[in-house]
């Protein structure tokens, strides 16, 4: 299991060091230094997130300029160690915001306290912030009654470790966001090399008591199954007016009953309080690609490049895409750029080796164009320019996967509010993930 955990700043100084295992303790200072020398101060790019130095394995992740490193001498579950490091970042962020050297120094006592709680002898323990915040506070715990204490311990160890009893709201409200990022890799000829949507359902729930929720979407398997009960597919489609989507795979927050999903494909859960990610999913079929990028790059002699890029929006004209940004890479030996664009603003950014073209808003079924002349310095560099792909960023108010929320039901039998009393908000946001077109 995890033998020790260190937090370094970018200089390689240790900010936090907690040793859990004796096998690490024996060579503590050497391993601390070894990591600094071999990883933080290494000249080249990180070649692997797991490094073995002198029979000691280091797992590291970096957040801004802070390094978190878990150290072990055993054959640990590597996936678990990384998951734990991410979780630990989440917990720290939930307690004191951004992970920075200053924040870590300011909260080092708290961090030690957290590390003592969420990692015991190198075994990760309950690390849900909701539960942790009930008994690890920066103010110190005072005047807990016996009931409160046992409530805390039963929550930390219990089946529903993510929610405490006795939550009360005057207004029961639910916010549901379907956040999708659409990823595309397209060949210069316009052929889709790979495309997928990775989506997340993020909820904010402000519900009283211990409500039982049920979430439904236009999952093809569920719809087809329902369709078999007498009505044929087409009829079902025409009556509901919605198409179903094929979900390749999905993963759920730990509050969702996985066995129930496996057997009935229904998503039921007792939600954590506040904001959380209910599920993630991935689709690859019938994706709506909101934009199409058509590049045209022409090399005019050795010192000039002509670039023309057309973007076409491909969704309902009534909808508006926002924050559109097209990034056209330029060669390293670029000396000057002239840009003309029909819409928005375009600028050559020498430091980023790219022309950045920004458009605030664009309706569906429109098209826009940019053309640029790039002047190059003559070089004797034999190596050709690698022509990185043209990338795009945008935000659209629909789900490119076609996912639709069908229902979200809330049941709380002990308290006197029903599903109808809960105010529910649903919103769809599609963003670009890695949306690239080769040129």
């Amino acid at each position: 299991m995890i033998g020790g955990l260190f937090i370094y700043n970018h200089k390689g100084e240790v900010l936090i060091s907690r040793v859990y295992r004796d096998d690490i303790g024996a060579t503590l200072s050497t391993s601390v230094d070894a990591f600094r020398v071999n990883v933080i101060h290494a000249r080249q790019q990180v070649r692997s997130p797991v490094t073995n130095i002198a029979r000691t394995s280091f797992f590291h992740v970096k957040r801004s300029n802070i390094w978190l490193a878990a150290v072990t001498k055993q054959n640990v579950n590597a996936a678990m160690v990384f998951e734990f490091l991410y979780k630990m970042c989440d917990v720290m962020a939930a307690y004191f915001g951004k992970i920075s050297e200053e924040n870590i120094k300011n909260n080092f006592v708290l961090i030690y306290e957290l590390l003592d709680e969420i990692l015991d002898f190198g075994y990760p323990q309950n690390s849900e912030t909701g539960a942790l915040k009930t008994f690890i506070t920066q103010q110190g715990i005072k005047g807990q009654t016996k009931e409160e204490q046992s409530q805390i311990t039963s929550q930390v160890t219990g089946q529903i470790g993510w929610r405490r009893e006795g939550i009360k709201y005057r207004r029961n409200e639910l916010f549901l966001d379907v956040l999708e990022s659409v990823n595309l890799l397209m060949s210069p000829q316009g052929q889709v090399l790979s495309a997928h949507v990775s989506g997340r359902v993020v909820m904010k729930s402000y519900l009283s008591g211990m409500p039982e929720c049920k979430f439904g979407m236009n999952d093809k398997i569920v719809i087809d199954k329902a369709g078999k009960g007498g009505v044929t597919d087409d009829v079902a489609k025409s009556t509901t007016g919605k198409q179903s989507i094929a979900i390749d795979d999905c993963t759920f927050n730990q509050c969702v009953r996985l066995s129930k999903f496996d057997s009935e494909r229904s998503i039921s859960f007792i939600p954590p309080d506040g904001e959380y990610e209910l599920m993630r999913y991935r689709t690859t079929k019938d994706i709506i690609l909101p934009f199409r990028v058509i590049p045209l790059v022409r090399e005019v002699g050795r010192t000039k490049l002509e670039v023309k890029v057309v973007i076409k929006s491909n969704f309902k004209p009534s909808l508006l895409a926002q924050k559109i940004e097209v990034r056209i890479p330029t060669p390293l030996n670029t000396s000057g750029v002239q840009v003309i664009c029909m819409k928005g603003k375009a600028k050559y950014k020498a430091s980023e080796n790219a022309i950045v073209w920004k458009i605030k808003r664009m309706a569906g079924m429109k098209e826009s164009q940019i053309s640029a002349e790039i002047e190059l310095l003559p070089t004797n560099d034999k190596k050709k320019w690698a022509r990185p792909p043209i990338s795009m960023n945008f935000e659209v108010p629909f789900a490119p996967s076609g996912l639709k929320v069908r229902y979200l039901k809330v049941f709380e039998s002990k308290l006197n509010y029903s599903d109808h009393d809960v105010i529910k908000w649903v919103r769809y946001i599609g963003r670009s993930g890695i949306y690239e077109t080769r040129c």
């Binding site: 240790v14 900010l15 936090i16 060091s17 295992r21 004796d22 790019q45 990180v46 070649r47 997130p49 797991v50 029979r55 394995s57 001498k73 055993q74 054959n75 579950n77 590597a78 996936a79 678990m80 990384f82 734990f84 490091l85 991410y86 120094k105 080092f108 006592v109 030690y112 306290e113 003592d116 015991d120 002898f121 323990q125 690390s127 008994f135 920066q138 715990i141 204490q149 805390i152 039963s154 930390v156 160890t157 089946q159 060949s187 990775s198 390749d248 795979d249 999905c250 993963t251 730990q254 996985l258 066995s259 496996d262 599920m279 991935r282 034999k382 050709k384 690698a386 792909p389 890695i434």
Partner: protein, 957 residues
């Protein structure tokens, strides 16, 4: 409030000041002081001098302060063991505190203080805490047992904590269960043979129930523990799989990977024709793909594991090629891993896409990545024949870029393409030669030299090219020197007139001016060959080389199996067994996949096939990809009578026959292989025993030659001439194509006209042509050995089947096998060496002159002690005694006398085995009763069972 100020105090006399503050009356000041102490500790300052003062602050009801003091204690107790005792009282008191959080804190901290004296005091509080009413305390105490075990294992056993821990597996609280499982698993790892975890269907059921209820981390502990369980049969393993599959949708990647581990392992036990097996395979793909949308570090872990899974079960991800396409912004470690998997998944169906991608990658920036991409193009060419042409043209395009490392890498892979498809792409040699000057890496130079030597007859200025390399001969690396030597010898044999001077030059450079023994020896071999018999030299050096095979970088199967058992862990990330990087006893236990139940695979040797050499990175031997092939080549050569006329140094030790070379070679070959196998798998270990050194896994009694009994009786007799009609069992599949890279062997044994024959059917189910077949037996009970080479004259093209009949002699080396009639066989072809074992009917060995004189029979029957007599029943046989007698006679089982007593026919029979053993039998046939009784008497009673089986088979067919 900010704590960062504590980091800044570096004044002199700081310790003194802190001491004063620690002893202050004001609580706030005390707390501040302790914080400063901890801050100093963190940055590595020695604040151990403050030990007593800090410990004094321990007695407080302020939880935050208490935690800080505890933290200090954990760090310094070991250096101040005597002082640490001072803390004991507070610990013991805290373990009784009404607040469960404090009780847990105390027991958690105490376990971290590794001082013997304190450990003793820990026992009583720990015992109480293990039975605490509060689950939070119990789950903490469970881990504490593991801590204590790490300090003093004996104490934990003596105090009976292990039993209490086992009881916690049935706890009502899922988190307690999970922690108890984690602790027990860890303790069990240091006691490999103990039955600590005692997994049985009941406890497994409890774990599976807890799995649904506990935290994500707890699920990982439980799944990792489940993976160590060996289900009793396929039904149990299916039911576990069914309950584990829902975990594949968990958001935590570690839960998913651990679930994949359990499934991959237990799947081994499911019959392949089961519907569920197919369903399970389908269910595995999506979650694996989803792992690739995690953070890059996790992606890396996932990709390393997918690399293993793809090797073990390629069918799972065969349609998912696209998700492994490299993204421009992927970190380099993710890119390199994706590339690896892409090559493994490349097939005829997707090769066009893959090539387009690889070409794209070859223009990237990172040198390692580009090199690997170029290499990948070459590997595609070798793997998918249809794509070879496109690959070659892509590589030529890349060579045109003139980017140095791209050119060198391309030349190295083109060399391999030549080795796979000779006489197809030589037109590109001219282009390659243009780049001769830019090659500065040994591997590329060696590759180029090899190409020049191999195709010397088509390159007009080959001699000039090679000569130019020769100038700096001594500055070259060994790899290049060896290659240059071979290439020039090849050139000489092809164009002897113009290159005599050159070859003399290189031979003298290699033999006289070099300190490298390999180079010197190879030089001498060539020299001698050339001066003795140039024609023979030509046959040797320019002999047709076997083609290289595609699967060059697969992980060795036993290691792969072990790594599959470690999915998700560091071992799977490093692709090394835990023993390679874990110190001490932990984790050195080798894990294995369970065997499939109820299928007939157990008799076959496992596929130990992948010894094919690396992708041609070695020097000269690289023209021959595997040791097996090398041996095969030598076997075909006639090295036998060497003449010692011309060569400068005297020859000695050359008097080796071809067979000897094979024997000796196989010895080392088998020896090599049986070692990593470590006796894991019976079949091949026994093979090792047969051919090479005696491995420890063979029981000693079996290894010793049979004293008296069998051994003495062996004589080298073989019978002559007899009518046909002996029983020949139907052919059975001995080596399925799956296990032998597409070669399927089925066969049987027959005795025809006094000659034992092994009748084989070879079917090529692979995509490529198979050539160079050879066969070898392990030592066996009756000294069976091939009497001639395996007569497969023409190459075996895909989907072709041939029948071969191999005459056997009984004069080979003898070793008793278990069962007695077991025969272990090695067959090699141009692809690899394969091993299997089969059982021959012992009637093969019944010789034609096995009819004993009556008197002798009587005397012998009496002479053989009664304990050597065994009785068997032959059921459901509807022959009368005469028909039976005739039938048996056809198989050289001779009836000497017949007697009828009370309606019962008694047939007395004699059999002589090829090694001279006599077997006497009495067959009792009662008319109307289909059940016969046979009594077998023999001086070597081991054979009785086999003889009986034979008689039964003969009579029933």
């Amino acid at each position: 409030m900010t704590d960062s100020k504590y980091f800044t105090t570096t004044k002199k006399g700081e310790i003194f000041e802190l001491k004063a503050e620690l002893n202050s009356d004001k609580k706030e000041k005390k707390k501040e002081a302790v914080k400063k102490v901890i801050a100093s500790m963190t940055v590595g300052k020695d604040v151990s001098a403050l030990f007593p003062d800090v410990v004094n602050c321990m007695q407080t009801d302020n939880l935050e302060l208490k935690k800080l003091v505890y933290l200090y204690l954990m760090n310094y107790a070991k250096s101040q063991p005597d002082m640490a005792i001072m803390a004991v009282n507070t610990f013991v008191k805290d373990c009784e505190d009404p607040n469960p959080l404090i009780r847990a804190l105390a027991v958690r901290t105490m376990g971290c203080i590794r001082v013997d004296k304190i450990t003793e005091y820990l026992c009583e509080p720990l015992r109480k805490c293990l039975k605490d009413e509060d689950p939070y305390v119990r789950k903490t105490a469970a881990v504490c047992v593991a801590k204590l075990h790490d300090i003093n294992a004996q104490l934990v056993e003596d105090q009976g904590f292990l039993d209490t821990l086992k009881d916690l597996i049935s706890d009502s609280n899922p988190m307690v269960v999970a922690n108890a499982v984690a602790a027990l698993s860890e303790i069990a790892e240091s006691h490999p043979n103990s039955n600590l975890l005692d997994l049985n269907p009941q406890s497994i059921n409890k774990l599976l129930t807890a799995l649904n209820e506990c935290t994500e981390w707890g699920q990982i502990f439980i799944l990792d523990c489940l993976a160590n369980y060996a289900p009793r049969d396929d039904r149990e393993s299916q039911s576990i799989c069914e309950r584990v599959t829902p975990r594949l949708s968990h958001a935590n990647s570690a839960v998913v990977l651990s679930a994949v581990k359990v499934l991959m392992k237990f799947m081994e036990m499911l019959p392949k024709d089961l519907d569920y097996y197919g369903t399970l395979l389908k269910k595995l793909a999506p979650p694996l793909v989803t792992l690739l949308s995690a953070e890059p570090e996790l992606q890396y872990v996932a990709l390393r594991n997918i690399n293993l899974i793809v090797q073990k079960r390629p069918e799972i991800l065969k349609h998912e090629m696209k998700v492994f396409f490299v993204k421009y912004n992927d970190p380099i470690y993710v890119k390199l891993e994706k590339l690896d998997i892409m090559i493994r998944l490349a097939s005829q169906a997707n090769i066009a896409q893959v090539l387009a991608e690889l070409k794209e990658y070859a223009t990237e920036v990172d040198v390692d990545f580009v090199r690997k991409a170029v290499r990948a193009i070459g590997r595609c060419a070798i793997k998918v024949e249809q794509s070879a042409e496109r690959c070659v043209s892509t590589l030529l395009d890349l060579i045109q870029t003139k980017v140095n490392y791209v050119v060198q890498e391309a030349i190295v892979v083109i060399k391999d393409i030549f080795r796979k498809y000779p006489n197809k792409y030589e037109s590109v040699i001219a282009t390659l030669c243009e780049n001769l000057d830019s090659l500065d890496e040994p591997e590329a130079r060696a590759a180029m030299i090899w190409i020049v030597g191999e195709y010397a007859e088509r390159i007009d200025n080959a001699d000039e090219l090679l000569e130019s390399f020769l100038e700096g001969f001594h500055d070259e690396s060994t790899q290049v020197q060896l290659q240059l030597l071979t290439a020039i010898v090849k050139l000489f044999l092809k164009k002897p007139t113009e290159t005599q001077e050159l070859v003399q030059q290189v031979l003298s450079l290699a033999t006289q001016d070099s300190d490298n023994p390999d180079l010197r020896d190879r030089g001498y071999i060539y020299w001698r060959l050339l001066s003795t018999d140039p024609v023979a030299a030509k046959e040797v050096v320019l002999a047709e080389k076997p083609l290289i095979s595609e699967e060059t970088d697969l992980i060795e199967p036993t290691l792969l199996e072990e790594l599959i058992c470690h999915i998700g862990t560091l071992a799977s990330v490093y692709h090394k067994p835990p023993s390679a990087f874990v110190e001490g006893s932990r984790g050195v236990m080798h894990k294995r996949l369970p065997a499939r139940t109820g299928s007939g695979e157990s008799t076959e040797s496992p596929d130990v096939g992948t010894i094919a050499g690396g992708s041609g990175t070695e020097t000269a031997p690289s023209i021959i990809p595997s040791q097996g092939d090398l041996l095969g080549d030598l076997l075909n050569l006639d090295l036998a009578p060497p003449t010692t006329t011309g060569p400068p140094p005297p020859t000695s030790g050359m008097q080796m026959g071809g067979m000897d070379l094979l024997g000796g070679g196989l010895d080392s070959l088998m020896g090599d292989e049986s070692e990593p196998l470590g006796g894991d798998i019976g079949g091949s270990a026994a093979m090792g025993a047969g051919f090479g050194a005696v491995p420890a896994v063979m029981p000693a009694s079996l290894n010793a030659p049979m004293g008296g009994g069998l051994g003495d009786l062996f004589d080298l007799g073989g019978g002559v001439g007899m009518p046909l009609g002996a029983y020949i069992p139907p052919k059975t599949v001995w080596l399925p194509a799956m296990k032998a890279k597409g070669l399927e062997i089925s066969g049987t044994f027959a005795r025809r006209a006094g000659v034992i024959q092994m009748e084989l059917t070879l079917t090529n189910k692979a995509m490529s042509v198979m050539t160079d077949f050879a066969i070898q037996f392990n030592r066996n009970s009756f000294g069976l050995a091939p009497a001639g080479p395996l007569q497969v004259l023409s190459p075996l093209s895909p989907n072709q089947t041939i029948e071969v009949s191999l005459p056997l002699s009984t004069v080979g080396p003898v070793m008793k096998m278990e069962p007695l009639n077991n025969l272990q066989v090695a067959v090699k072809n141009n692809i690899d060496v394969f091993y299997f074992s089969c059982q021959y009917p012992i009637s093969m060995l019944f010789v034609e002159d096995g009819k004993m004189e009556r008197q002798v029979f009587l005397a012998t029957w009496k002479d053989i002690p009664n304990e050597n007599e065994s009785q068997f029943q032959i059921k459901d046989c509807h022959l009368n005694s005469d028909a039976a007698s005739n039938k048996l006679q056809a198989s050289n089982i001779f009836t000497i006398a017949k007697r009828t007593v009370e309606g019962q026919d008694m047939l007395y029979m004699s059999i002589k085995l090829s090694n001279g053993i006599w077997v006497l039998a009495e067959l009792r046939v009662q008319t109307g009763n289909p059940n016969y009784t046979i009594s077998v008497k023999c001086r070597a009673p081991e054979v009785s069972q086999c003889v009986f089986q034979c008689c039964e088979a003969v009579l029933k067919n």
